[in-house]
Amino acid sequence: MAERKESIEARDFGWMVAMSFVFFALVAYGLYREFRTEWRPYQTQFVALLGHYGHADDAASFHPGIHQIWNPKIGVTDRCITCHLGYEWSSILPATIAEPLTPHSTNDWLAKHEFAKFGCTPCHGGDGWAVTAEGAHIGGKGWEDPLLSSALAASNGLTMNEMMQMRCNFCHRHDAATPGMEMINLGKQLYKKKKCVLCHVVEGRGGSTGPELTYFGDKNPELLNFAYVTGPRTMFNWNVQHVTHAGVVSPKTQMPDFNFEPQQARALTLLLLSWRRLSYPAEYIPDPDAAVAAMATPSPSPAATPSAAPSPVGAH
């Protein structure tokens, strides 16, 4: 009896000891992983950088950890600055510093769109909640709003600056024209010239021959017919081809073939994709008259000439 009792204990003993060690190892690994974050090395580099450029005080008072710009008025929780620490240091750090510490490039409209008021994602896209590069730039499965990188823009035949203008139009939708938004301005001109509103309802007014376009940017891409579309299966590509040769993409349509130039089609598509169900507080909506007045006196920015200039907003 005693030996059988012992044999139960003996058999279990080995397993108990083994599982105890495994438990210890797993917990230790869990702790290690929690502290080995992606952003920590960048923050250490940044502190060294500040010291190197003569800002020892700021280096000493730097708090390591997750940094975020939080603005509940527009629903922004942007932790991009946990890695992109140089964003407000463009007057001290050179633009040649490697990402993610590169300071934000200066341009005319940055002064009117302060970091604390706008955050990062309203202009750049991406997942502000994330603190890993992949999580923030691409987002997980089904994240519809990736970072508007040069690569993504190039795959749509655009520069990063041009693609970002789509997001500018989230707030600037009702400007007749806005300095710095050349593609959108072009799109708005075409929209007026071709009288889209004769067949499509937009913002409560228009004809019912075609579908309503007020929130075209929210449309489910799966509902589009890609049977006659060449190239990537994206809503952007579909719309560029549809707006140029409607009869090819939708054989039974009444929409005329407008035969746009590629750049015109892309401008119009950017405009349409910018039309989304978004609401911002009143102080964020720009005064449409101010924009028109600003267009009348163009600023001496190199970005004022469309498509000829290289992208002035960061180098990715």
Partner: protein, 433 residues
Amino acid sequence: MIDYLTRLWRKASWSWSPESDRESSEAIVRNLWLHWFPAKVARASIDWSYSFWLGTASASLLLILTVTGVMLMFFYVPSTERAYGSIKDLEYAVSFGRLLRNQHRWAAEGMVAVVFLHMARVFFTGAYRGSRAANWVVGIVLFLATLLLSFTGYLLPWDQLAFWAITVGTSIAKQAPMVGPTIQMALLGGHEIGQQTLLRFYVLHVFFLPAFIWIMFAYHMWRVRKDGGLAAVERVRNERAMAPKATPTTKSYSLFGLTPGTSVQVMSSTGLEEQDQVFSSPNVTRRLALVFLIVFNVTLVAALLFDAPLEGIANPAVTPNPAKAPWYFVWLQELVASTTVHLGPLVVSGAFLGGILIPGFLLIILTLWPWLDRTPLTSEGRWFPPARKRQNATFLAATFAIVVLIIIGVYLRGPYWHIYWPGQPRPTAPRLY
């Protein structure tokens, strides 16, 4: 000093590692945590190969889920505007949040599987006969509560995966005759899934169902004691009864664990011999701790290696293609999708046939089986006795069919619910840009 500390430690922990038979017996009386155990259990019932300790594994998972769940409650917000963001915060901004959420998710999915395996074990060993029939029904109720807990928790992240899985699930519920729409209205708090649904599912998931399952679990354990232990003791008792015996063995068996002696002796209530039994403390307690440790390690490994899914925020206007129920319900979805019957002008909806009728029928048969079982009682408490061949084979076949349907639903169904074999390219959903 060391001696004093050692004595103090011994005073606090003696009941967990008894050093004599007397201490073993006293442990279950004087330690609150051990009071559920009998002084002795049949050795056969603690065999790994009998029960695989699946019941203990289920209970371990329930404990892990409760503790991780309560931790999560400090961070999750059950509001349609803030739920998704609170999960993102858990993933990125809360220390150990990702690990916590992962462990909760994998323990939950694991519990559905382990509870099912436990039920299968009980069925295969015929451990639901006689007085154990009541506990079988309690077990079915616990299994349904587990499924409901998993289902209500599934909605809480409020992402596309959650929203549409619950859409599919509640639409199946709506097909129940007469009461269907009422059930759906009560579940959803409306016709659509919205804030009221999220709040209901949250309260069900964090309070009502856990309270219910813990109370029923306690009753489940109480019934095990009342039934005299696991059904393996019946097998041992049958074997002993068939073996020739010189004189009836008696021993005094009482709460106070007195050893055999010359005072008044009572027939042992369990009818088991000395040699068939071991002390609960430390044999059962040690294995219990071991099983818990193994289960915990498995959930921790899963949590470290695999991330719980989180898709885009719930969008009622966009249905993902395809939209699937959680894996433990996807076999129902398969049935629903393929059992629509056209009898001339009459159409019997697959949602009713495959979603309500067939699983309802299976559930009723399963619940009533202890009373429908006609095999002799000598077959209980053992694995695959010849007398139980037919019913075990049927159960196995039904389980296999369900598993096949689950595999098809999870791995082989693609957009528009078409079958795509592994290696076959699937159409990717078009993106925005």
